[in-house]
Structures are given as C-alpha cells and as structure tokens.
Symmetry: C2
Subunit: 222 residues, 2 copies
C-alpha cells in the first residue's frame, strides 16, 4: 500500500479545477449579488434570472430567505426544534441584530463562493443592507466574480407594495430594526448593475442582468 | 405595473424545480457523506470520486477542510483577520469543542443540502465523529438523498500513516480532544457504504462508491 500522505498530495494536485468544472458546464461561475430594500423586487428578479439562465442551459442556483433561513442561518427557535440545546441555539441561531445580520451575510457569502468555485452562477437575494458586509464578500472573491446588483426601487414604491405587511408593522413600531425605517440601508457605491425597480417590470430587469452576464463573457451568447 | 406580491407568488410557483435542474445535469443530486478517523483516507477517496464523476460528465463538488475551515466555518482568528470584531469572532468562530463540532457539521450539512437541491452530487469529507450530528443531516434530507460512507480504517493504520503528525501530537498530549485518542468516534450503525480503508487502495474504494451511485440510479451507466 502506498503511503497515505503521498497519495493525498498526489490526488489533491489532480483535484478537479474550477476551469475544468466551467468547461463541463459551458459557462463561467460567478456570484450575482442582489441588494435592496424589502419588497424592492430582489427575489422576484433573482428567480426570473435563474429561470432564464436555466432555460439557456446555464447551471445556476438561488440562495434566498426560503432556503437559507430554515437551514444554514436558522433562528434559535428552529435550532431548538431540530434538537439542538438551548445554549447552542442561543449562540449560533441568528436573529436580526446588526451582529446577526453580519454573520447572516458572511455565511451566505461563503456559500455563494463555494457555488462559484463549483462553476455555477450563484444568485443571492437578501436585503444585505450594510456596505461593509457586502464588500467583505466582494473581497473574498477574485476580481470579476462578484457582480453586485443594486435593485434601486424608491422606498415609497416598496412601501406601497408591502406584500407581507412588514412596512406597516415597522411604521406601527411592531417590528424593530426594519431596513429603511429604523435601520439604515447603505446603497452600493459602485455596483456592477443598477436596476430601476420602480420604472420597469421584473421581466425587463432580469434581461438587463442576462445581458451583463453575456457581455462580460460569463455565459455564452444565446 | 403588476402588484409586486402577485408577481412574486407567480414566479415562486414557476421557480426552477430540482427535477428540472437534474434533467439539465443528466443525473440526480445527492449527498455523499464520508465519515471516519483522521488519516483514514476520506479526503483522498472523496477527491478521487469527484475526479471520476467529473470525467463521466457528472456535476459534483467536494466540501472539505480546505474550502470550509477558511470560509464558512472559519476560526475566530480568521474572522478577526477578515475585520470582524473580537466579540463577533468569539461568538461565531469555530474551534474543536463538542459544541463547535456540532455547529461545524450542522453548517456543512445545510450547505450539502443546497448543493443537492441544485442537482449536484455533494461530497463531504469530514471526520464528523458524532452519530447524532450525522443523523441530523440525514433527517434534513429526503430518503435516499443521504449516502453515508463509513471509511472503516483501523486506527493503527491511520496512526501509522499520520501524514500531518497529529496522532503523534495527540499521544504526546499536545493536541486535546483528538478523535480516536481522547475524543470518541461513533461509527455509523447503518451506513449505505462501508469502505475498508486498510485493505484496499483509494482507487478501488472510489470505484465502490461510483458503483453504488450507478446501482441506485443517481448517475447513469458509463
């Protein structure tokens, strides 16, 4: 039998590279990071981009509240439901404090990076209100891998939509630390893409993202 | 403009399903979870399985210490390096205590599940010594999606290999809580696959995993 150390080194050298994964996929991996106020249209546009990429044979995946807040970034209550101890749930469960939001975005950024290394177009749809948290994700990736999409919908439009009644609750003081009401939203300074969420329907905005991905060579022409 | 809530509901209903992703990929998504002692061969075999799957056109990805311990499950020291506060690093940074190991495996399980939902063969290579932690990941997935691979290499063989000198340090008392020495390893009770790491070379063991994936219809015949 060979020495285990040698075998390990040997096979790590021959691990599948990102370029080989991208060649199999027929496109580049990257992170498409949506940011913007609650109800600005992030999730709708992100899912539409995913849908359109899939239809073109591009391997993509959406990380959003639906698949993150019940798993990776579960609340203390969910952790307790899954038979973790109270102490464990208190330490690792996430709420909506500034520190918890920082960790929420940090974990999502780390996972998006893994999907990017796997050669997928990782699409994230979170408010991600703090500039420093988003910039930290950008810094963790190679130049060009992080595509920041600012969904710039006026707060009046978001508040008029308010599909979950969250703005109403926040205005009534029933929700504390709500972004745009009593917690800051820090818009990106140099986002790769700005989408005017109050001016155009999601269909048009999603096409803007695809056009960018195609123009920058992340995905092949139609 | 349509009502945002309606648009969102509409598109969520038409989100790309796991089945559609699997159809594009030409194979099923699943989690191949390696478990076993330090130096038992997990990482070597996992990377070899990844390599062989890739060569067959299967979309796979390995989660291991290399890409997890510097990102998603970083230590307090790394979090501080990345400009998180001391308090933040202490709360969310992971070490090797029982609680930290529990959270380490919990996060890895959640990420592996996301890769599985994206239609990939997610391969994890961590000691993952505690049965309850592994079983929690199994429970989070649909039946058949979790394939537990027990790399059953006798500790004497692992200790004789000791590529990083960890067993030596643990025996000398310089490493505390080392699995198999002064921290327990709880072998799986009903693993899907058992690999005899002391009896066969990694090449043969990796083929056993591929044979299982093919026999259970996760990947197409060669």
């Amino acid at each position: 039998m060979k020495d285990a150390g040698q075998v390990q080194v040997h096979w790590h050298e021959h691990a599948v590279s990102r370029e080989e994964r991208e060649r199999l996929n027929g496109h580049r991996g990257c992170v498409v990071w949506f940011t913007g106020l609650s109800a600005c249209g992030k999730s709708t546009i992100a899912n539409l981009v995913d849908h359109k990429l899939h239809a073109r044979g591009v391997h993509s995946f959406v990380l959003d509240g639906d698949n993150i807040r019940h798993g990776l970034n579960a609340s203390p209550a969910i952790l307790r439901q899954n038979h973790h101890s109270d102490e464990f749930a208190r330490r690792f469960g996430l709420g909506f404090s500034a520190e918890d939001r920082e960790e929420n975005i940090r974990r999502i950024g780390a996972v998006a990076k893994l999907f990017c290394e796997a050669g997928l177009v990782a699409i994230t749809a979170f408010i991600s209100p703090y500039r420093a948290d988003r910039d930290r994700v950008r810094q963790s990736l190679a130049p060009g891998d992080f595509i920041e999409v600012f969904v710039d919908t006026p707060i009046e439009v978001c508040e008029a939509r308010d599909p979950k009644g969250l703005y109403k609750k926040a205005r009534a003081g029933q929700l504390k630390g709500f972004t745009g009401i009593d917690d800051p939203y820090e818009p990106p300074l140099r986002p790769e893409i700005v989408l005017r969420g109050g001016d155009h329907p999601p269909e048009v905005l999603a096409e803007q993202v695809l056009a960018y991905l195609q123009a920058t060579g992340k995905i092949p022409p139609k």
